[in-house]
């Protein structure tokens, strides 16, 4: 029964959203807009449910003194303090802004800054020349880097042209092929989801809520 109802809802909502995109029907547009707003509201409730899950897992970590439970305790403290300040003083208050601008933003930017080190360590592992793929990777990467770096032009004036050719011909061809394949995959997944054949939504393939 649940599968039939969820299937019917998926079909109706999916078809309305698709038809709204392709056809000029004001009635469909207003319905589609309303449903999009509902999705935002449901997401907000889902965020609350997610927070409860997060809270439960880390409370259990602290209670059972699992590995690095101190980090869980810090997380819980930050959650509670931010929640209290947000609810008590509002999200425009100086305290809330302090938490966001002086604590949260620097942490996010620091994490993003670590990426370059991860890229370097990954590249060092990838450029071990064990097979033809690694050789192709190394040669093409070197040529593109030389083409884009200022000193590359000093070594050989045509390096930028070579780099440009690599990016616009073989690289672009490969990307477009992957995009075409991926787009077909999206169309197939959408079809299965709308028709209720998608297992992750509880379709007849077996896996999913019953």
């Amino acid at each position: 029964m649940v599968k039939t109802i969820t299937g019917a809802i998926s079909f109706v909502v999916g078809m309305v959203m698709i038809l709204e995109y392709y056809f000029k029907l004001p009635a469909l547009s207003s319905v589609a807009k309303a449903w999009q707003n509902w999705a935002v509201i449901i997401s907000a409730f889902a965020l609350g449910a997610g927070c409860i899950n997060l809270f439960g897992i880390h409370v259990r970590n602290v209670a059972q003194r699992k590995t690095r439970y101190q980090a869980s305790a810090i997380l819980l403290a930050c959650m509670v303090i931010t929640l209290i300040i947000g609810l008590g003083q509002g999200i425009d208050s100086p305290s809330y802004n302090f938490i966001f601008k002086q604590l949260y933003s620097p942490l996010v930017q620091s994490s993003a800054g670590l990426l370059i080190f991860y890229i370097v360590t990954a590249a060092l592992r990838a450029f071990r020349l064990r097979n033809i793929d690694a050789w192709c990777l190394l040669i093409s990467t070197t040529l593109v880097m030389l083409g884009n770096a200022p000193f590359g032009r000093l070594i050989y004036g045509r390096f930028p042209d070579v780099a440009n050719w690599i990016l616009t011909v073989p690289n672009m061809a490969g990307q477009r092929a992957v995009v075409i394949g991926g787009s077909l995959g999206i169309i197939a997944t959408a079809l299965r989801t709308i028709l209720g054949l998608e297992a992750t939504r509880g379709g007849s393939a077996g896996v999913g809520p019953s």
Binding site: Y21, A46, A49, S204, A205
Partner: protein, 277 residues
Amino acid sequence: MRLLCRANSRPTTFMEGVTGLVPGRIAAFVTLVILWGVMLINIRRALGGNLPVLREIPALKAIEEAIGRATETGRPVLFTSGLGDVTDANGPQTIAGLEILGSVAETTASLGTNLICTVCKPNLQPITEAIVKQAYSNAGKPDAYRPDMVRFCSPDQMAYAAATAGIIEREKVAASIMVGAYWQEAMMLAEAGAAVKAIQIGGTARMIQLPFFVIACDYTLIGEEIYAGGAYLSKHPMRLGSLAGQDIGKVIAVAVAVVGALLTSFGSKYLTTLLGK
């Protein structure tokens, strides 16, 4: 063909006037209908017993090997579906990842391996829980499911990446399966897995992140291979049929590209104009 021409309005063509299709989306709609028709025909054929033969995809084959290694070493398997949500443009990639999760969860349930799923978007939390619970139930081990198998980390990208990387490092996962829509956190997660010597299988259809998965992971699912994952692992006829339909769609796309390239080379813009309607 112009049906009517009104003051203060753009002339309406026959197709737009009769069908009400939005200008500029007619060719896309016709393409969608054709592709869906092809997929439905192949799904029907597969459900009738005419199953397509799949080529081997090393990354998908490696999933079973990775879970086996995790079972032998007693370390957990980590699955994460990335930053995408089911409600945005990256929904199909996330759904593809969740299809693979269903098969992964059934395998870990049957082998008694510990499974950890991290989730970025709150919408995915109940969906992922339901998939894992159902998979354990299908494997005949509903009691083996634990609520802390599915962990919501944060809707924020870096917080999610840091949380997942922390779990990988603390739990010393033996296998890390990352399939879905990824942004720059892909590199962080892949390097965290490399640091604990986990077998890593990464997959995404986002072109900009694929190179990072290719260099950092042991196996990579490239683009459409993530959509084949569910069919490959479950061998369900409906998914296999849809995969066959995708392949026919690829043949159609290549044929149109070749014809279009030839026509354009000879100075004809007919196909370009037609596909732009």
